[in-house]
């Protein structure tokens, strides 16, 4: 097993061979990947050293201290957090070799083609079709043997689709089976001429997300992850990693949404009322407790005692973000009647606590919807953590084509 001392030695060797000051950013990142220091818990030859995940911090600290460039994880979050673990678990050796390095380095951005207009919380009801066509030839220059799949359908709420080179995609391969069993998981080439990306303007006026229309898109069978019909199981790997990646970092006191309103309160005594004071204090306490609960979760993970508490963190932060930003607009009074800018734009990065109070209020409405609605998360807590029985269902043993739509 690779230990901290060995990782430190390897990191120093990397820095000596490729001094950050005199090395091109991408070249440095490639060298870091090849040294196995990209994600140390990944296998050797794929950017890692089969080391414990917790030791990544040793490498990161050393590289940060040396001023080494980062791979800008916020820009490539879907690739790092969702596509990579899925490819690692289900991809062939060829796919791992082909995709993981440019993914980690950031040369190729990934997006996720899961949600559809008719399949949100009930993702398994998705209608995008994948039909086998052994006769045709793929447009993709990277086709392997085994024929093609032809994809038709529409995906929605796709972040990064307009800059993505590749996508992870789930589509229906057998409409005659019950919905969970007829799904297959693919890697989709976003440069295929059948892929059309349109910005999806949202409640804040801008377009963080896209709609993606798929018309006769061809995918080589070699770009399938997992067996035909096993796509739902494969997608669980992706979604599990999504929840791990949400709410992972340590937050200081008054970090997050409570920060701006607390500053406003201190700097603008003329805005204060007794009513807003009581509500602010209640929310301040709840935000501090949520922060502590997140800290406790991190301590549990670090001590190797992962608990189910993670499922609750997103619920807490969604509600707090909404209530705090709502109070802030109210507290600001006349100023709360104004909004920064309604111009349609395509933000590179999204900061829930950025811009003005109106933006924060509107953007946080998405916090209880994106990545699993709060209602679905409450069901998950109730059933998987508390062990309560599920509601009676009438969709489990019915062929997908016979479901009500």
């Amino acid at each position: 097993m690779t230990d901290a001392a060995e990782l430190l030695t390897r990191t120093k060797e990397l820095l000596a061979a490729h001094p950050p000051a005199g090395t091109d950013r991408t070249e440095f990142l490639k060298a870091r990947f090849d040294a196995g220091l990209a994600w140390v818990h990944y296998p050797k030859g794929l950017g890692g050293l089969d080391a414990p995940r917790s030791l990544q911090a040793v490498v990161d600290a050393e590289l940060t201290a040396a001023g080494a460039p980062e791979n800008d994880p916020r820009r490539i979050g879907i690739g790092l957090g969702m596509a990579a673990p899925t490819i690692l678990k289900y991809g062939s050796q060829e796919l791992k070799q082909r995709f993981l390095r440019p993914l980690w380095v950031g040369e190729e951005v990934w997006c996720q083609l899961f949600s559809e207009p008719g399949a949100g919380s009930d993702l398994a009801a998705l209608a995008t079709r994948a039909v086998r066509d052994d006769e045709g030839t793929s447009h993709s220059s990277e086709a392997g043997s085994g024929g093609d799949w032809v994809i038709n359908g529409q995906k929605v709420w796709t972040s990064s689709a307009h800059v993505a080179r590749w996508a992870i995609l789930i589509a229906r391969t057998d409409p005659d089976l019950p919905k969970h069993r007829g799904i297959t998981y693919f890697i989709c080439d976003m440069t295929d001429p059948g892929v059309e990306v349109r910005p999806l303007r949202q409640i804040t006026g801008e377009a963080e997300f896209n709609e993606v229309f798929l018309t006769d898109v061809r995918i080589p069978d070699a770009h399938r992850l997992g067996e035909v019909g096993e796509g739902w199981k494969v997608a669980q790997t992706t979604l599990m990693n999504e929840r791990v990646s949400i709410g992972g970092s340590r937050i200081p006191r008054e970090g997050g949404m409570i920060g701006p309103i607390a500053r406003t309160w201190r700097e603008r005594p003329e805005l204060r009322t007794h009513d807003t004071h009581q509500r602010l204090l209640t929310l301040w306490v709840e935000a501090e407790v949520a922060r502590l609960a997140g800290e406790r979760l991190r301590q549990q993970l670090a001590a190797g005692q992962p608990g189910p508490e993670g499922s609750g963190m997103k619920l807490a932060f969604a509600r707090l973000n909404q209530e705090i930003s709502g109070l802030e607009v109210e507290l600001l009074g006349e100023e709360g009647l104004l909004y920064g800018d309604w111009t349609m734009s395509r933000p590179e990065l999204v900061d829930f606590t950025g811009r003005d109070a109106g933006y924060r209020y509107l953007r946080s409405k998405g916090n209880s919807i994106e990545g699993g609605t709060s209602e679905v998360l409450l069901n998950i807590v109730a059933e998987r953590v508390l062990g309560l029985p599920s509601e009676p269902r009438n969709d489990k043993d019915v062929a997908w084509k016979d479901l009500t739509r």
């Binding site: 607390a262 007794h274 204090l281 209640t282 301040w284 407790v289 502590l292 609960a293 301590q299 953590v385």
Partner: protein
């Protein structure tokens, strides 16, 4: 900002919890608690002997050189979680935490203080502060009060710690007049205490030391009360989940209805959060962190509401049976509601917090 607080439970703390839980399940199930409470004698002297003496819970806050076990608020918090889970009547919070912490803030070189501390730590005697259970660490204290009402556990305490204008006195309960009051919470009896002249009392500290010490005792009590509230809430949630899985209406378990599941999931989230807040307060008190007042105010402002919410949901989701005298839910509701008032309401703690974090009132 200080070093990160340790919000987990140590192995020793887990062992202590197991010992206390095993004792309480042997001696203190809720049916027995109810029978004793109805008889007007809620305390079980044998249970106290085992908890305070055999397990050594009474001496957790007291250093070894003063006859205690040299542990900390973290361990005492674990004991309180279990006492909350069992809604157990025992003078632990009042004697082993509040009175003990108060005495520890005095000059422990004094023979009278040292002897009393050693006796409390060994579980041979108990002491309570002669202040109302509702007294917060921040509010006015009853000094020279002819009669103090709402004093918790006074009926079983051997010693009353009484604030006079010239200092803090230890008074034998036998020499004071203690009249039982009818409490909302049957498991933590209250009494009105009248102390006559101080001829038969022992002066423990002068005025300045006394007030600071009492406030420190109340702060520790408030901080660790959050752990009792956590234990109460945890029991209420577990029992509610168990009941709604078993109870059938409309030919299905009532716990399968989403309207109920969401309420229990929400409670679970509150319990998880209350645990972080309670651990944070216990750790801050244990390490003597300068942030202890803030951690205590946060824990109290939050956990009081969680315990009451959990107990109220417990009654509602048990429905008819939850409204009966026979089912223990009412013991938890009454304790939770009394705990909300005890040692400062959530509002008092939020007022204190406003000063501590600079979010002043208009």
């Amino acid at each position: 900002m200080n070093a990160q607080p340790d919000l987990l439970y140590s192995e020793a703390e887990d062992d202590l919890r197991a010992a206390v839980r095993s004792l309480l399940s042997d001696r203190g199930d809720t049916a027995a608690v109810l029978v004793r409470a109805e008889a007007g004698a809620p305390y079980d002297p044998e249970l106290w002997k085992a908890l305070a003496g055999d397990i050594g819970a009474a001496g957790l806050l007291v250093p070894e050189k003063l006859g205690g076990h040299g542990a900390s608020h973290r361990e005492a918090a674990v004991v309180l979680e279990e006492l909350g889970r069992g809604v157990t009547p025992a003078p632990y919070l009042t004697s082993s935490v509040i009175a003990t912490e108060t005495l520890l803030a005095l000059d422990t070189e004094t023979v009278e203080v040292a002897e009393l501390l050693a006796a409390l730590a060994a579980g041979r005697r108990t002491a309570v502060l002669a202040v109302p259970l509702s007294a917060s660490p921040y509010g006015p204290l009853p000094v020279d009060a002819p009669r103090v009402t709402g004093v918790a556990d006074a009926a079983v305490a051997d010693v009353l710690l009484v604030l006079k204008s010239d200092g803090l006195y230890a008074v034998d309960r036998a020499s004071a007049n203690v009249e039982a009051q009818t409490p909302l919470d049957l498991t933590r009896p209250l009494a009105a205490v009248t102390v006559g002249d101080t001829a038969r009392a022992t002066l423990l500290a002068d005025t300045a030391t006394a007030e600071q010490a009492v406030r420190r005792g109340l702060l520790a009590g408030a901080g660790l009360l959050a752990s009792e509230q956590l234990g109460l809430a945890e029991w209420c949630l577990e029992e509610t989940v168990r009941h709604t899985r078993e109870r059938h209406q409309f030919n299905r378990p009532v716990g399968s209805f989403q309207a109920l599941k969401h309420r229990m999931a929400q409670l679970w989230l509150e319990v998880v959060s209350a645990r972080a807040a309670a651990r944070n307060a216990a750790d801050a008190l244990a390490t003597g962190s300068p942030e202890a007042p803030l951690a205590v105010a946060v824990a109290q402002a939050y956990s009081s509401r969680v315990a009451v919410h959990a107990a109220e949901e417990c009654v509602q989701l048990h429905a008819g049976i939850g409204m009966t005298w026979e089912h223990p839910a009412h013991l938890y509701l009454k304790r939770a509601k009394a705990d909300e008032v005890a040692l400062g309401t959530p509002g008092r703690h939020k007022e204190a917090l406003a000063e501590l974090v600079g979010l002043q009132a208009p």
